[in-house]
């Protein structure tokens, strides 16, 4: 891991145009990912995580509008690329999703899908070579019996196997940045542990940088070097995993940590964060978390706290932490 950013996101602001208004899904989001780093984007449903991921992989749906911001990947602004540059970048940023079954065309065998990708991206034409490459990647993701998998249809494989197949296909185009959007959410806990383990091994082996999207802070803490907490379309806190767990600052982050059921404690009541997210068509004037925060004051309602580096390498957007002690 070096401190060279592979990705810089600056002031990213994204709206979705819908029939009855404009959903302000992402507002003023800025962060960086260094080479070889695993950065986790954590937040509850609707906080804008997927939208950020889609923007970076330039796969936003048509009703999305990028209002503002820059996405700089290896020194080039992805939002201002010439058409002819786009395909070369595409190979370098890849995204995988939650539902592996929805990603693969059910009518084709894994081998056919895989061969197409390899042919196109690695400019190979020799069928034997293509097959060899595909099997090599299926082995790299620790799939047993790659030959059989190569000849299987997607529906013949379990969710955990499918997610591995997708990771194998994704890796075959040699990406530099992998955006993994809740890749384990549909899997049970044992498969989840396997896939996380695999991603970490592959990161080392292929020198990947990973943006890992999850609503589960436990997972983020285990695999992330750094964690960015989002709420209602904005970043509320950012720190290294250790720091964030040891010393969470934002009331929302604290709440998220308390929600995690701990196996060694017997509860009378689980902690939860009462209430729900606001309507994204009308983001609050002040702090995004104000409605659900037990420590909110008048100031929080009127004035939006800026994301400041309150402690060294630990940013928070909350009026409880005023001024920098850096």
């Amino acid at each position: 891991m070096t401190d060279q950013p592979i990705l810089q996101v600056e002031n990213l602001t994204i709206d979705y145009v819908v029939l009855d208004g404009i959903i302000k899904a992402v507002r003023n989001v800025s962060f960086t990912i260094n080479e070889g780093e695993v950065v986790c984007l954590v937040g509850e449903s609707g906080s804008g995580k997927t939208t950020v991921g889609l923007a970076i992989s330039r796969a936003l749906p048509e009703n999305a509008i990028i209002r503002e911001g820059r996405i700089i990947f290896k020194g080039r602004d992805l939002l201002n690329l010439e058409i002819r540059d786009k395909s070369t970048i595409e190979d370098k940023v890849m995204m995988i999703f939650q539902d592996p079954a929805a990603t693969l065309n059910p009518l084709f065998k894994v081998g056919e899908i895989f061969s197409d990708v390899i042919k196109h991206h690695l400019k190979l034409s020799d069928q034997l070579k293509i097959r060899e490459k595909a099997l090599e990647f299926l082995k790299a993701v620790e799939l047993p019996d790659p030959e059989r998998i190569f000849n299987s249809y997607p529906h013949e494989l379990s969710g955990g196997m499918l997610q591995r197949v997708i990771i194998a296909i994704t890796l075959s185009v040699n990406p530099k940045l992998l955006i993994a959007d809740e890749p384990t959410t549909m899997l049970d806990v044992t498969l989840q542990a396997q896939i996380l383990d695999l991603l970490i091994n592959l990161k080392k082996k292929f020198g990947l940088s990973i943006l890992f999207i999850t609503h589960n802070l436990s997972i983020a803490a285990e695999i992330g070097d750094r964690i960015i907490v989002m709420y209602g379309g904005e970043i509320v806190e950012e720190a290294s995993s250790e720091e964030l767990l040891k010393n969470p600052l934002h009331p929302y982050t604290k709440g998220l940590l308390e929600c995690i059921p701990k196996t060694h404690i017997k509860y009378s009541k689980l902690k939860s964060i009462p209430g729900m997210i606001f309507d994204l068509r009308n983001p609050p004037l002040g702090c995004v978390f104000v409605d659900r925060c037990t420590e909110a004051t008048d100031l929080c309602r009127k004035d939006k706290p800026r994301l400041i580096e309150f402690l060294k390498n630990h940013k928070v957007a909350c009026h409880l932490y005023r001024g920098s002690t850096k």
Binding site: E44, T190, S218, T263, L270
Partner: protein, 330 residues
């Protein structure tokens, strides 16, 4: 003494695998392969295991959606497959279910009032006003106000939709609710809200739950008893305390190790390699031996016996028999 509300005896459910024009049966998927347990009145029993272990199939047998291949399901000491007439209707009212994806189980064309009142209309004689009042009181119980009455499922968040599904499940005053992964589609913060709600309702309405999940981390707080199931068979069962404080089966221990823990770094946990074997030809001997890091010779050949560690804590594992315990001390 507790009375068994529900008693499952050696339940088996085999799905035939058919091929060809005439549907010749070439084999069986042994989804549930000899499972026995009780749920007592007022008790919360959790059924925990990986994907494909047969949890939902057990639930579907209880809900009369599948016919058991063999074995018995007794409710109030009566075989549910033999119930007819009023007794059958009574059973269907007494046993309700809540599933993983609330949006799949709520009719998108009905509003919340219609969704909750539908089962009530048919079995309680209530005037329109009484019905409205009853449905509102159910909503209040699950923590939603009256403004939700005329909302449609697409206007609800995941947590709110699950609350509506719970309101519908309690509307007929059931005795037992089967909760099949009730929180695994929800955010962690919402998951905690729903688990708290379920715990409160249980006390208030003296319900029993059969909670089905692959995630051990959510069961401790709410369960009285835990059943660990693998490939259609029980591996270990005991009180919540016993399973959490003294897990005996290697599979149970690995399930614990699979729970993401924010205070542990990755690599510090045991990861279960490989996929569960096919339920068509489950491995001989102990079904878990192909993935068990501690398997010894006998595990591959003979089914493990039941070892009692306490009155209700039982494990099915050769490593815990007297004769073989010496081999494991390494």
């Amino acid at each position: 003494m507790n009375t068994a509300l529900l008693r499952i005896e050696d339940l088996k459910k085999y799905f035939p695998i058919r091929v060809g024009l005439f549907g010749k049966v070439v084999g069986y998927i042994k989804a549930v392969d000899g499972v026995s347990f009780n749920v007592d009145a007022g008790e919360v029993v959790s059924l925990v295991g990986e994907s494909g272990s047969g949890k939902t199939t057990i639930a579907r047998c209880l809900l009369l959606l599948e016919k058991p291949t063999s074995g018995k399901i007794l409710y109030d000491s009566e075989d549910i497959t033999q119930l007819r007439g009023e007794k059958l209707r009574n059973y269907r009212r007494s046993v309700q279910a809540v599933f993983q994806n609330p949006f799949l189980s709520l009719d998108p064309r009905m509003n919340v009032f219609q969704i909750i009142s539908e089962p009530v209309k048919n079995s309680m004689k209530l005037s329109r006003e009484e019905l409205l009042e009853y449905v509102s009181s159910l909503l209040e119980l699950v923590g939603l106000d009256k403004s939700f009455l005329d909302k449609y499922p697409h206007e609800l968040s995941g947590g709110q939709a699950q609350r509506v599904a719970i309101a519908r499940a309690i509307s007929l005053k059931p005795k037992l609710i089967i909760l099949d992964e009730p929180t695994s589609a929800l955010d962690v913060s919402v998951q905690a809200q729903i688990l708290n709600l379920l715990a409160d309702l249980k006390k208030e309405l003296s319900l029993s739950y059969l909670l089905i999940t692959h995630d051990l981390s959510i069961v401790k707080y709410i369960s009285d008893r835990i059943i660990i199931i693998y490939l259609g068979k029980i591996m270990e069962t005991g009180s919540s305390e016993e399973i959490f404080e003294n897990p005996l089966h290697p599979y149970t221990r690995i399930l614990f190790s699979s729970i993401p823990d924010p205070y542990r770094k990755f690599g510090e946990r045991v990861i279960l390699r490989g996929e569960p074997p096919s339920p068509v030809n489950p491995p001989p001997g102990c079904r878990f031996h192909t993935r068990c890091p501690y398997a010894i010779d006998i595990c591959r050949k003979q089914e493990p016996p039941e070892i009692k560690s306490s009155l209700i804590h039982k494990v099915y594992c050769w490593l815990h028999t007297e004769k073989h315990s010496s081999e494991t001390k390494t």
